[in-house]
């Protein structure tokens, strides 16, 4: 294959390969040829070679030997070579490579190039992969470009400034005055960039918030122009004038109006106008409406406006379009803490969404349902959630189970405990995760008795999984046998534990005797202590377990080993049978 063959020809050959091995062979030959070409410093066809290398890189083959070539091409005077060189830099270079520092000078020169297209290449690359040092070096240049007369360059410089502020927040001060003045631009691209820059500055530094609150009237005016202007073919998307810009401005208004009465007052009228006049039959309108609703809920708006907002969300919850239902649940999740009663009104619809076919919608509905569980609706919610748990997709099961445990904490009645236990036994792949989660819940808090009972039961039954340490879905934690026994003994000794919980804890300790190796003596001593406990129930258990240790040790493994369907009472009756009581 001729060395200066173009990209298309190479792609054709690669696609002609019939197996993975053949493709690998073709690519290796090509890469070897490209490597040789790079070494020759031959000026013909250099950009073709780098383009070929970048294609190969996308398919997943190593391309690091092209890094220096990128540096060389960026320094070239030809636009076509610069273009592919910068693209290569964005794909192959990053902060950690030394080669990235070498292009700083080229970028600096190109930022002052006479052609706006070369300037834009440099800006784009700096915004994509500029390291902190590069940003510090070039920040003054960017600040200068923000005041350029060319709106194409201005909008790119604005986004470049955002990248710089992200890398080095202290440099934000440099851009604050220019950001302010950019708001009076007419060009939508520049306005968009300016709003993103101001948003970033405000999020990084609360002092900037105070300063930019003065721009609220200006922002409100821009929004008003967008909303009330007639049809403008340039920025129109489905009947809405530049929805992208509207959404950005609404988001910025949200940040500026948060916890501030004066700013919130200034926006009230505008938000009411947008909320009532936006046509939401298409995605664009819905996007604007949602952003408006979120802003209304987040700032200090008047109550009438808040009611309007929650009603809009409720209406969208009933929309046929699944995207809109998903988004409305995301929004409701954000406001469920602050406006709990308002969201409760829509509980029925949300619980219905648990049965939707779409996994994403189900996930949102689950999160929201768990947040809506309260003392008043616990029974019906638990019923729905348990039903959901039995039919939900596997990736949601662990989340649902842990949510149910936490929600079930204080207010649930006793019959829920055996139901939960039954469900846990059925979900065998969840055992490891469940026991880890419950152990952690137990060591942090032993007030909620149902949680304590389920936790003790799980630790007794699956203690070996807990002690093994690893579990896929959560961060690993080393749990020793002493830790586990300490936790169970705490439950036994705490004055907050009910007799039922103590019974669970004692049985769990007993069961662990067959699952652990080192601390059997400790278990034996705990059990024998409780043989003289005041609580009759506990005493009887302890005496029976003691007997297992003394006279029937050979049968201990049988009685305490894994049970498939266990109810606390069932286990005890089996013991009584064995011991002849």
């Amino acid at each position: 294959m001729s060395p200066s063959v173009c990209l298309q020809e190479m792609i054709r050959v690669i696609r002609g390969a019939r197996t993975q091995g053949e493709e690998r062979g073709v690519i290796q030959r090509e890469c070897a040829a490209i490597r040789a070409q790079f070494r020759q410093a031959d000026s013909g066809g250099r950009s073709h070679n780098l383009a070929k290398l970048l294609y190969v890189h996308m398919l997943g083959y190593p391309a690091h030997f092209g890094q220096m070539e990128c540096v060389r091409l960026i320094a070239s005077s030809k636009y076509s070579e610069k273009r592919i060189g910068y693209l290569g830099a964005m794909m192959l270079l990053d902060e950690k490579q030394d080669a990235s520092l070498l292009i700083t000078n080229s970028i600096k020169n190109d930022l002052s190039h006479s052609s706006q297209h070369v300037q834009s290449l440099a800006l784009c690359t700096l915004a994509c992969m500029g390291s902190a040092e590069m940003c510090r070096d070039l920040a003054p240049e960017i600040e200068r470009l923000l005041k350029a007369s060319n709106s194409y360059i201005k909008k790119k410089a604005a986004l470049c400034a955002v990248h710089i502020v992200r890398k080095i927040p202290e440099l934000g001060e440099m851009f604050t005055p220019s950001a302010h003045s950019l708001l009076s631009e007419k060009n939508h691209g520049v306005l968009h960039g300016a709003v993103i820059l101001i948003t970033e500055l405000c999020e990084r530094n609360p002092d900037n918030l105070k300063q930019f609150r003065k721009s609220v009237p200006e922002l409100v005016q821009i929004m008003k122009n967008l909303v009330t202007s007639g049809y403008s073919p340039e920025h129109n998307v489905a009947g809405i004038s530049d929805p992208f810009l509207q959404v950005r401005i609404l988001r910025l208004l949200r940040i500026l109006g948060r916890n501030n009465d004066a700013a919130s007052d200034a926006m009230n009228d505008l938000l009411a106008q947008v909320a009532t006049n936006t046509d939401s039959s298409k995605t664009a309108g819905s996007a604007v409406l949602y952003e408006t609703v979120l802003t209304i809920m987040d700032i200090r708006s008047e109550s009438g406006l808040r009611v309007l907002a929650v009603n809009i969300l409720g209406r969208f919850l009933l929309n046929n379009d699944r995207n809109i239902r998903y988004i409305s649940m995301t929004s409701l999740q954000k406001i469920v803490q602050t406006d709990h009663t308002a969201v409760q009104r829509h509980r029925g619809t949300i619980v219905d969404c648990l049965k939707d076919q779409d996994a994403s919608v189900k996930r949102r509905a689950l999160e929201l349902s768990l947040a809506l569980v309260s003392a008043a609706n616990i029974r019906s919610m638990m019923k729905e959630l348990l039903l959901f748990l039995s039919t939900c997709p596997p990736e949601l099961r662990s989340h649902a189970a842990s949510g149910i445990f936490n929600a079930a904490g204080g207010d649930v009645r006793d019959e829920t405990v055996p139901n939960l236990i039954q469900l846990i036994t059925a979900a065998s792949e969840l055992h490891c995760y469940t026991v880890h989660k419950l152990y952690r819940a137990l060591i942090s808090d032993i007030v909620q008795q149902s949680l304590v009972q389920v936790a003790c039961w799980c630790i007794g039954e699956y203690g070996d999984l807990l002690l093994k340490g690893e579990c896929e879905e959560i961060t690993p934690m080393q749990v020793t046998e002493d830790d586990v026994l300490d936790a169970l003994e705490t439950v036994l000794q705490s004055h907050m534990s009910t007799p039922t919980s103590r019974g669970f804890a004692l049985t769990a300790i007993m069961k662990l005797s067959t699952r652990i190796t080192n601390n059997v003596d400790r278990i034996r001593s705990v059990v024998s202590i409780y043989g003289s406990c005041i609580d009759v129930e506990l005493q009887q258990r302890a005496v029976e377990y003691n007997a297992l240790f003394k006279k029937y040790d050979h049968m201990r493994y049988f009685t305490m080993s894994y049970c498939t369907v266990i109810l606390e009472f069932g286990c005890r009756s089996r013991l009584s049978l064995v011991l002849g009581y």
Binding site: L7, I11, R12, R15, A51, L54, Y55, H57, M58, L59, G60, P62, A63, K78, Y79, S80, R83, L87, E95, S115, H117, L123, C124, A127, C128, M129, K156, L159, C160, V162, H163, H188, G189, H192, G193, I196, E234, H235, D242, P243, F244, V247, R251, T283, S286, A287, Y290, E291, R322, N323, R325, Y326, I327, Q357, D358, A359, S360, V361, R363, E395
Partner: protein, 193 residues
């Protein structure tokens, strides 16, 4: 912020991969595979949003995707982007590609991936949305392509001349020219190759 933009076909072959945060090459390929795996499981009439513990970064990130014929367009974004806005952005991107390539199809993306990168660079920069007006984007891309062509113009002239002549159909040179009584023997010119 947009963390990554991926285009792959129904079999998971990447057609465009642009990452706005740095990952190693292996991680990038893994992300592409994982994203394909998640997205290809989806039915046709479910919502366009996916979430849930991915390699690309945890609970804050979502995958917003659209399926057009044989291609999936996937944007991985964090919570600072409006989900419905990104859906519209994907639509603008595809419409722009359509205009630039004239009824774009997968083959166009395969053979002109550098051009797709150039178009994308006019829309999203550093993970942030730069321009959403399709006409503006196309104007800039056309101007840049013109610049490239005009450079190649001077350097590429000899190559183009040679290939043009090769394709010319030169008639056969006559061995003798007979005009009346005069017979001129045509000298043996070397064949023009």
């Amino acid at each position: 912020m947009i963390k990554a933009i991926l285009i792959f076909n129904n079999h998971g072959k990447p057609r465009l991969s642009k990452f706005y945060e740095h990952y190693t090459e292996d991680t990038e390929q893994q992300i592409i595979r994982e994203t394909f795996h998640l997205v290809s499981k989806r039915d046709e009439n479910v919502c366009n949003f996916l979430e849930g513990g991915m390699l690309i970064g945890g609970s804050d990130n979502k995958l917003i995707y659209r399926h057009y014929a044989t291609l999936y367009f996937v944007f991985c974004v964090d919570s600072s982007e409006s989900e419905l806005g990104i859906l519209d952005l994907i639509q603008v991107f595809v419409e722009t590609l359509d205009k630039c390539f004239e009824n774009v199809c997968e083959l166009d993306l395969i053979f002109h991936v550098d051009k797709v990168h150039n178009i994308l660079a006019e829309m999203v920069m550093g993970g942030m949305v730069l321009e959403t007006n399709m006409n503006e984007i196309i104007t800039q891309v056309d101007a840049q392509n013109k610049m490239e062509k005009s450079e190649a113009g001077i350097a590429g002239a000899p190559a183009r001349a040679v290939s043009a002549v090769k394709n010319m159909n030169l008639p056969e040179m006559p061995k003798n020219i007979n005009i009346g009584d005069i017979s001129i023997k045509v000298p043996n010119l070397p064949s023009f190759k």
